[in-house]
Amino acid sequence: MEITMLMYLIPSLIMFGCGVYGFITRKNMIAILISLELMLNSVDINFTVFNRYLFPGQMEGMMFTLFAIGIAAAETALAIAIVINVFRAVKKVDIRELTKMKF
């Protein structure tokens, strides 16, 4: 039995679907960030798998994943700083109750 490309893409697809579901249904801001991490992670898997199977002599997909991991780290750190600042201001992290900046 061979491990084909499809067998790596299907778990990544399910991971992305879970990320979409969590992003829509969750109410805690940190839980939304966690769902976002799931989606980013599944895209990283896709880049790497396509690179490995279709262009094994090059490493563009791997480099893209490397930079995506770095950017995801930066983005998460900033988002968590914002969440903590919002929590300090209004004592809540529930997105239904953060309506002050809506117009």
């Binding site: 039995m1 061979e2 491990i3 084909t4 490309m5 499809l6 067998m7 790596y8 893409l9 299907i10 778990p11 990544s12 697809l13 399910i14 991971m15 992305f16 679907g17 879970c18 979409v20 579901y21 969590g22 829509i24 249904t25 969750r26 109410k27 805690n28 940190i30 839980a31 966690i34 769902s35 991490e37 799931l38 992670n41 790497t48 490995r52 199977y53 094994p56 002599g57 490493m59 791997m62 480099m63 994943t65 490397l66 930079f67 991991i69 770095g70 950017i71 995801a72 930066a74 983005e75 998460t76 750190a77 900033l78 968590i80 700083a81 969440v83 903590i84 600042n85 929590f87 300090r88």
Partner: protein, 171 residues
């Protein structure tokens, strides 16, 4: 032909990814869902190791499992009491989420299966990503060099440090 251990490892990783990513978004205790996310990230690192990208797997474990998870756990403990359940979902919102996720997965799964002449391709064995080649590619300005994104990321991380300090500072 892959070895039996390789295939067994693949199935363990795939099962872990599917189960834990479902649990991540359905668990009602937020600290538990962060822990399940940690397992998903480890399984992803396992995929990278299995594909032969050892450096990428190491980066995944160091940055995601080491850095981001610590940030998540700290911010969860700062903003909510860890024993608390989140409220149950309203059915309206739940169905909205399920339909969006299922529609997206069905669309991509259909296009994947109908387009995929290349999907059955086997893994070729001539992979050469040793650490020397990665280092040369990261710091060269040639055709396959990545010096500019490397430096741009360094500036981005610097801006992120300053922004994090400024935003989270106590006034």
């Amino acid at each position: 032909m892959d070895s039996v251990g390789n295939i067994l490892m693949y199935f363990i990783i795939a099962l872990a990814i599917i189960v834990f990513s479902v649990l991540t978004v359905t668990s009602r205790k937020i600290l538990r869902s962060a822990t399940y996310l940690l397992f998903v990230l480890f399984a992803t690192a396992g995929i990278y190791f299995q594909l032969g990208y050892e450096f990428l797997g190491a980066v995944q474990i160091a940055v995601y499992a080491g850095g981001i998870m610590v940030l998540f756990v700290f911010s969860i403990l700062l903003t909510s009491r860890p024993g608390n359940n989140s409220e149950p979902l309203t059915t309206h919102k739940k169905w909205m989420g399920i339909s969006a996720a299922v529609a997206g997965v069905a669309l991509s799964g259909y296009s994947l299966l109908s387009y995929g002449a290349f999907l059955g391709r086997e893994m070729s064995s001539n992979l050469n990503v040793d650490i020397t080649r990665i280092g040369h590619a990261l710091l060269s300005t040639d055709k396959w060099g990545y010096l500019l994104p490397f430096e741009a990321i360094s500036i981005l991380l610097l801006a992120c440090i300053i922004g994090g300090v400024v935003i989270a500072r106590k006034r």
